[in-house]
């Protein structure tokens, strides 16, 4: 029994036939027949050939969670022709599985990016949702027509702001781009965009939300006076997203921005009722691309103090309250590899208004920091 067929180069017109042939090849005559398992079309755009190889290694894991017809695209192929070249492979959706997932790699040549959306369009399975994973490090607002064309019939664009070279510029442009890109409406024309970096923050947001909840710390939400967010050098967007999330959810209005020593940005907000809030984003010199600590000064249970949220480093987030005898409160933060996040995001297509509001607030913060 084989788990995957060998990759076969075929003309575009023969892709479907070769996929069927691959399914036959996978079938072990001594066992039950193979089924095609396809929950969606997954179109993945890569920056270059080495990036494609890296992404390709993650496909088996993605399809084991979310079986799909996968299209791997790369524009800047080394071949001299601008024609799109197709390579087809069929693999089991998990070792020993009777479900088969299909992979079509499309290489577009040095100037072939424009041709890729045409090639993909002809090979999409019509009745299934289309997800585009923009694996490129170029922020979607700067991606140009190739992204627009690829997303023409997609319901979801998945991108990751973690690797952006200029996160401030990327975030500043995201708000306007997002309101243009996302659409609602009938006839299956709706479309959402999902940032994996936002997904990474899920457990941080959950823990902060729980601890500041009126049920746990009455009055804390209304008395926040200072927030410090410490983050690894490559987790700038995550820090901005947490700050923007707090500002948007708690209706803080920005008053002033100040810079301090290059690694820290400070903002001052006005709370809806009265009082001010200082937000400090502190970029640490080294460390992983993650949030390390969020410290929130507030009057929890009527007493001034702070809630100190940290990552324990062993799969949990913790907050140590200042009350005597209190146990640290922990929340599991299941390890989320990039691949797992993509796989889960594929079926998580509900429009996220909190994300949209956060992006708008982040735009305001970035603008304030520039001017």
């Amino acid at each position: 029994m084989i788990d995957a067929t060998a990759p076969v180069d075929v003309p575009l017109s023969a892709v479907d036939r070769q996929l069927t042939e691959g399914l036959r090849e996978l079938h072990d005559p001594t066992s039950a027949p193979m089924y095609r398992a396809r929950m969606s079309n997954l179109v993945i755009y890569c920056d270059d050939e080495s990036h494609l190889q890296e992404v390709e290694a993650s496909i088996p894991q993605i399809v084991s969670v979310h079986p799909a017809r996968v299209f791997l695209l790369v524009a800047n192929d080394s071949s001299s022709s601008n024609d799109v070249r197709a390579t087809v492979q069929v693999r089991r959706a998990g070792a020993g599985s009777r479900m088969a997932a299909e992979q079509v790699t499309l290489r577009g040549g040095p100037h072939g990016a424009d041709h890729l959306p045409f090639a993909v369009r002809a090979l999409l399975i019509g009745d299934l949702p289309t997800n585009v994973w923009w694996a490129s490090r170029t922020p979607p607002p700067f991606a140009g027509p190739v992204l627009d064309d690829l997303c023409e019939s997609a319901q979801q664009l998945i991108y990751d702001s973690l690797g952006w070279a200029d996160p401030h510029r990327g975030m500043a442009a995201t708000s306007a781009w997002l309101s243009r890109f996302e659409r609602e409406g009938e006839g299956g024309r709706w479309r959402v965009a999902s940032d994996l970096n936002w997904r990474r923050l899920k457990y941080w947001l959950r823990l902060i939300s729980q601890e500041l909840s009126p049920a746990v710390h009455p009055g804390a939400l209304d008395t926040i006076s200072e927030v410090l967010i410490e983050h690894g050098p490559h987790a700038v967007t995550q820090a901005w997203q947490i700050g923007a999330w707090l500002a948007s959810r708690l209706d803080w209005k920005i008053q002033a921005t100040k810079f301090k020593k290059g690694s820290e940005i400070g903002f001052q907000f006005e709370r809806p009722e009265h009082g001010t809030v200082r937000l400090r984003l502190d970029r640490l010199e080294e460390g992983a691309a993650e949030i390390r600590r969020v410290k929130i000064a507030c009057a929890a249970c009527g007493e001034l103090g702070s809630l100190d949220f940290t990552s324990t480093g062993d799969g949990r987030l913790a907050v140590q309250p200042e009350e005597a005898g209190a146990e640290p409160r922990t929340l599991s933060e299941p390890a989320q590899s990039l691949v797992e996040m993509v796989a889960k995001q594929l079926s998580d297509r509900e429009p996220d208004n909190i994300f949209r509001e956060m992006v708008k607030a982040a735009h305001v913060l970035v603008q304030a920091s520039i001017h």
Binding site: E211, S213, A215, V216, G315
Partner: protein, 540 residues
């Protein structure tokens, strides 16, 4: 309609996630009977999985309550939880998570009748609140025998352990396990005594079947796909079969020594399949299959729709009791090639081991088949066949919707070999999924029609593991969502429906009780019940 609307959720503008997400609220889960089997096998592994998934609030703890602990009760409880997780959890235990989880496990030893034990429980809960920042919120899981429910809920109230139903932060909710009574009268008594301490909005009557993915998918299948609902009525559906088949008997044996290792006889004898399976699981599934579209996804709107089905069930009259219901008991036979004893033998063996006087015989049914009708516009004349039994050939549960045959023209002219009708089969266990049997032309020059099956299997298609039913249900209680729980009026309506059958059997105790060999699909009488209608049980 009973007022079971939960109080509004605590407003927290930071509540992360899409608007539709119901988040579990900070609380202590208090497991009554925490030393018991259900807690060990299901509840503690379920809570561990929720913890490891990062779904539980950080302000959360579990307090076990009851007798049975040995040595240091808390150490014993933590060790017990660990062994349950190691043995039954869908995910292996992770040392770091396991240690963190153990930190929030506590135990209070005491009898459910002892007021002092409740004072100790109260003191422990207050200490745990302070340790974990829990706002006095409680979920009491009554994993205890039915006879202990009344003393437990009375004592909770008497000792100030029940808050007002309007309380938002320091809420109190109670989960009541089946069986809710053993007849209508006792069910009403249980409901009354629970209602003396808890409002309906605080009461969650659990039926773990309703937490299974496929059962939840029933509503999605019906109301999120436009092709089914127009056909979902007496005009197009010939009949419906709901089967819950179990290969296990009431006693587990060690295959090497043939010695009993566990037994449910103590609970099951005198209860039987009708009370154990039909009155709750099967009628709930029947309701989801047959209900009218609710006008919203509100918990009480859905539960009203389900109740309407129970109210429309045609009551059994004398004739129906004779011809539409079959009960039976298994005799010795074989399961997977191993000889297994009769139910009667298991009862005698259990009684002798527990020094219980051995009765002359037992008339407890281990198998029930019945034909029921729903007298409303949608289902007029469509029989619903229900069957459930122990020691059947395999473990399989499904809901099968058999559509009417096509006319005897075109491809269905040969009445000696009629076309197999279209069947939509929804599998609840062991492999959750669904299939649709259709007629298709075989390749070739001749027109040969052959049935083909379109299959959808949850675990294969969606990958990963589905959460256990108890995980979903515990989470729903913590979030204050009663949709998947049985409301008082529905429980009582279900009892009302089965009471004529129970009374009929009660009055004919000495009369004939059919038997079936273990490892077969039930007695001949059950086959006749459906074959007299020109139909047959589906092979599973």
């Amino acid at each position: 309609m009973t007022d079971a609307t939960p109080p509004p959720q605590v407003v927290n503008p930071l509540s992360a996630g899409p608007d539709s997400t119901l988040l579990p609220q900070p609380c202590v889960l208090v497991i009554f009977g925490a030393a018991g089997d259900l807690s060990w096998r299901k509840l503690l592994p379920a809570v561990y999985n929720l913890n490891a998934d990062g779904v539980l609030p950080a302000n959360f703890a579990v307090v076990g309550f009851g007798i049975g602990a040995e040595g240091d009760p808390e150490e014993w409880f933590r060790a017990r939880a660990r062994s349950g997780i190691e043995k039954f959890s869908r995910r292996p235990i992770d040392e770091a998570h396991g240690a963190d989880f153990a930190r929030c496990l506590f135990y209070v030893s005491g009898s459910f009748n002892d007021s002092r034990a409740y004072q100790q429980l109260k003191a422990k809960l207050e200490a745990v609140d302070a340790q974990f920042g829990i706002p006095g919120a409680r979920v009491y899981y009554l994993s205890i025998p039915p006879t202990m429910v009344q003393p437990a809920v009375d004592a909770l109230k008497a000792n100030g352990l029940v808050s007002s139903p309007e309380e938002q932060h320091a809420f109190t909710r109670v989960i009541v396990e089946k069986p809710i009574g053993r007849d209508l009268e006792s069910a009403e008594a249980v409901n009354r005594c629970v209602a003396n301490s808890f409002a309906e909005s605080q009461t969650y009557r659990i039926d773990h079947y309703l937490g299974k993915e496929t059962v939840q998918n029933l509503m999605v299948l019906r109301f999120a796909n436009s092709i089914f609902e127009p056909l979902w009525n007496q005009k197009y559906i010939d009949h419906v079969q709901i089967t819950v088949s179990e290969e296990e008997g009431l006693t587990q044996y060690d295959p090497a020594t043939n010695e009993p290792t566990a037994s449910r006889i103590g609970y099951y004898e005198g209860v039987g399949a009708l009370r154990d399976m039909v009155q709750n699981h099967m009628l709930q599934v029947l309701c989801l299959t047959a209900m009218e579209p609710p006008y919203s996804l509100g918990a009480d709107v859905i539960r009203d729709s389900k109740l309407a089905v129970l109210k429309c069930l045609r009551p059994f009259d004398e004739n129906a009791l004779e011809h539409s219901v079959v009960r039976a008991q298994y005799i010795e036979g074989e399961i997977h090639g191993h000889p297994v004893p009769s139910y009667r033998h298991e009862v005698v063996d259990f009684d002798s081991r527990h020094n219980i006087p051995i009765p002359n015989g037992t008339t407890t049914e281990t198998f029930v088949a019945m034909r029921v009708f729903i007298d409303n516009w949608r289902w007029a004349g469509v029989p619903f066949y229900l069957r459930t039994g122990k020691r059947l050939p395999k473990r399989a549960s499904e809901i099968a919707i058999q559509f009417k045959a096509v006319p005897n023209i075109l491809f269905n002219q040969n009445q000696n070999v009629p076309l197999e009708p279209t069947v939509l089969s929804i599998r609840v266990q062991p492999e959750e999924g669904l299939s649709l049997r259709l007629a298709s032309k075989l390749p070739g020059p001749k027109v040969r029609i052959y049935p083909v099956k379109l299959e959808f299997n949850y675990s294969s298609l969606f990958g990963g593991e589905s959460p256990e039913a108890y995980e979903r249900l515990i989470l729903d209680v913590m979030a204050g969502d009663p949709t998947l729980f049985m409301r008082r009026d529905a429980v009582e309506a279900a009892w009302e429906f089965v009471m004529p059958v129970l009374n009929h059997w009660e009055h004919s105790r000495s009369r004939f009780l059919p038997q079936y060999q273990a490892g077969t699909w039930g007695p001949l009488e059950a086959d006749r019940l459906i074959e007299n209608d020109g139909r047959s049980w589906r092979p599973l």
